[in-house]
């Protein structure tokens, strides 16, 4: 241990880490389609799901980093270097878990003599035409199903320096520019294409950037963030009926026929890929309402907030492991039939392994501080 080295202790449980951990657990469960416990995640009563929460909090965390460390007032070069480095880290994590996912699928197909498993998760192109598909994976233009949120995160972190620079020199312009891009992508419409399999990104980066920027803007007590904090009680009064109405619509499946909407339809549809306004608005309402409950949960259920916050503090590592565990859960359910007992084991072991991943990440950090 070097003399004078400080022991890096993890930060205390807080609302942002708690909700990030909550989103990670929800993503893990939702990415095992058909599992019994998916009926208990909040998407069953909400237009938006944990993906919106995850990206919003990624923007929020960027805001905390930039404002907390004084990066906003620093030069453009160090800012770009640091955020670009983070983007590269996420990119490498994505490439590694995509490779492991392909290995899992191939292993399951081989060991069980069930070739159709090779077609799961958009993997067919890789196994049948590996050369162009491998190029596509490296370029992020070929994404495995349920492994498509990190490419969005890579792009968002790559363009984050531009957000921060605009925020530094012309703060009032940041949100209008972001919303301008958002509505343009909905009205024209446009998105990022996939290759070699012709199609489009599951998460349209041109629309999903809006929720990332909103998280960033609302994270600090200036401008819109200041306004929201001052008026949060009134905002919750408006938000609560939106949340309740959305829950009723989702529960009773009261969605109108999407073909009856006027053009441009994406302004009115309920669609995840384009993060349509109805989802975005409902998510913001949900966030406003549920931001009130963290202190109560922390007070009465610390055994819930502590582990979830630990997951949230180590979100990238936990997300990567969660993605692989979800895929493993799908394979296990196929092999052993999706009984309630199997589903319960998958969820309990899965969440346990996520906690272990987070704990090991912090343990390694502590070791690092002693090295």
């Amino acid at each position: 241990m070097s003399a004078g080295a400080e022991v890096r202790m993890p930060r205390e449980a807080n609302a942002v880490d708690f909700w990030r951990g909550f989103a990670l657990v929800s993503i893990f469960v939702n990415h095992v389609p058909g599992i019994y416990y998916e009926r208990f995640t909040h998407r069953n009563l909400s237009f938006s799901d944990s993906a919106e929460l995850f990206v919003f909090l990624a923007g929020w965390s960027l805001g905390l980093l930039v404002y907390g460390n004084g990066m906003r007032k620093g030069g453009a070069a160090p800012l770009t270097f640091r955020l670009g480095g983070r983007s590269l880290q996420i990119y490498m994590a994505h490439i590694v878990i995509s490779g492991l996912a392909l290995g899992l699928l191939a292993g399951a197909a081989y060991l069980t003599d069930t070739p159709p498993i090779l077609e799961w998760h958009n993997a067919a192109a890789f196994f049948q035409d590996p050369a162009p598909t491998q190029i596509g994976i490296v370029l992020l233009t070929h994404q495995l199903g349920y492994f498509d949120i990190l490419p969005l995160y890579v792009v968002l972190m790559l363009i984050a320096p531009a957000f921060v620079i605009i925020d530094r020199f012309a703060p009032p312009l940041l949100l209008p520019l972001s919303l301008g891009l958002y509505f343009s992508a909905l009205v024209v419409p446009f998105t990022a294409p996939t290759w070699p399999v012709e199609g489009q990104w599951f998460f349209n980066p041109f629309t999903w950037q809006a929720i990332f920027v909103m998280g960033y803007v609302l994270s600090h007590d200036q401008g819109l963030g200041h306004f929201v904090r001052r008026n949060i009680a009134r905002i919750r009064l408006i938000a609560l009926p939106i949340v309740v109405l959305a829950a009723i619509v989702v529960w009773f499946e009261l969605f109108p026929d999407p073909t009856t909407f006027p053009e441009p339809k994406l302004l009115f549809l309920h669609g995840k890929s384009f993060l349509t306004p109805v989802r975005l608005l409902q998510f913001l309402a949900l966030a406003a309402v549920f931001s009130a409950v963290y202190p109560t949960i922390a007070r009465y259920l610390p055994w819930v907030t502590e582990p979830l916050s630990m997951l949230g503090r180590n979100s990238l590592n936990v997300f990567c492991v969660a993605s692989l565990l979800s895929l493993s859960g799908q394979i296990i359910r196929f092999l052993y039939s999706g009984s309630l007992a199997v589903d319960t084991i998958v969820v309990i072991v899965g969440i346990g392994l996520l906690c272990l991943t987070a704990w090991l990440s912090e343990w390694r950090q502590r070791l690092g501080s002693h090295a």
Partner: protein, 265 residues
């Protein structure tokens, strides 16, 4: 006083007659022979059913839009070399002057219920003439209850018919090891029931792959590919079956019973 209910029945009836005439017109001008299916692909054994809305689109616009959605787009469209999927190339080669637009929205891993929601959105956005839906494998793997699966697929197929969109269901994938998997086979039979009950085309991918795997094994193909059953040749056979089915469907004789849109559509 005119009876609005009566009037609401007149429009669908006229539309149905129009579709019959259009189909008949298309059939009449049809000098189009269905594209051949390679010998090694075997006999697809697909029941021919008309695709009246696609026939109308061909007649009116010389253009058809196909929305490919569901489990594995590679498996139904064929390998996309030279910039476009094999299915698109076969159809454009077979039907002179036809412009085929394939909208690929495959999302692997998704269950039928979730795909049903996405189909509604994609139909609203893109107004396809045909929805080519590969469905069943994911639900079987995910152990979705058979009645839930059947209800989801039926609901979406009916919605598509009500919205004047032709439907082709592409069934589950084949593997020798799945032949004794009771749930897998139950989902397979369930899809067959839906296709029959709703009078829509179903391409038996399972049966086709079974034939192909046997043919390859007899022909001395590469053992590792036979073991895995899924090959580029297999995908391209599927694209050939589907191209043949669409061509036959478009130029089919007028249906005895034209799908009648719901009142008010």
């Amino acid at each position: 006083m005119p009876n609005p209910m009566h009037r609401s029945h007149v429009f669908p009836a006229l539309l149905a007659i129009g579709l019959v005439l259009v189909s008949a017109g298309a059939a009449a001008e049809a000098e189009v022979a269905p594209p051949p299916v390679s010998k090694e692909c075997g006999e697809p054994g697909i029941a021919d059913r008309p695709l009246p809305y696609s026939a109308a689109a061909l007649q009116q616009r010389k253009r058809i839009k196909i929305l490919a959605i569901g489990a594995s787009s590679t498996a139904v469209l064929g390998m996309g070399r030279n910039g476009s999927p094999l299915l698109e190339r076969i159809l454009e080669r077979t039907i002179k002057g036809l412009d085929v637009e394939i909208i690929n929205r495959g999302f692997s891993g998704e269950l039928a219920e979730a795909t049903g929601d996405r189909i509604r959105i994609e139909v609203a956005l893109n107004q396809p003439d045909i929805v080519l839906w590969q469905v069943g494998t994911n639900d079987a793997f995910a152990q979705v209850a058979v009645d839930e699966f059947e209800a989801s697929v039926t609901d979406t197929v009916r919605w598509l018919k009500e919205h004047n969109v032709d439907v082709i269901l592409v069934g589950l994938a084949y593997a020798k090891s799945l032949a004794k998997d009771a749930h897998y086979q139950a989902i397979r039979m369930s899809l067959r029931r839906v296709a029959l009950a709703e009078n829509v085309l179903r391409i038996g991918r399972y049966e086709a792959m079974e034939v192909l795997t046997r043919t390859m094994a007899q022909g001395g193909g590469r053992p590792e590919l036979e073991d895995f059953g899924l090959t580029e040749a297999g995908y391209n056979c599927m694209a050939q079956y589907i191209a043949r089915t669409i061509t036959v469907g478009i130029f089919a004789k007028p249906p005895k019973k034209v799908p009648t849109p719901e009142p008010g559509k």
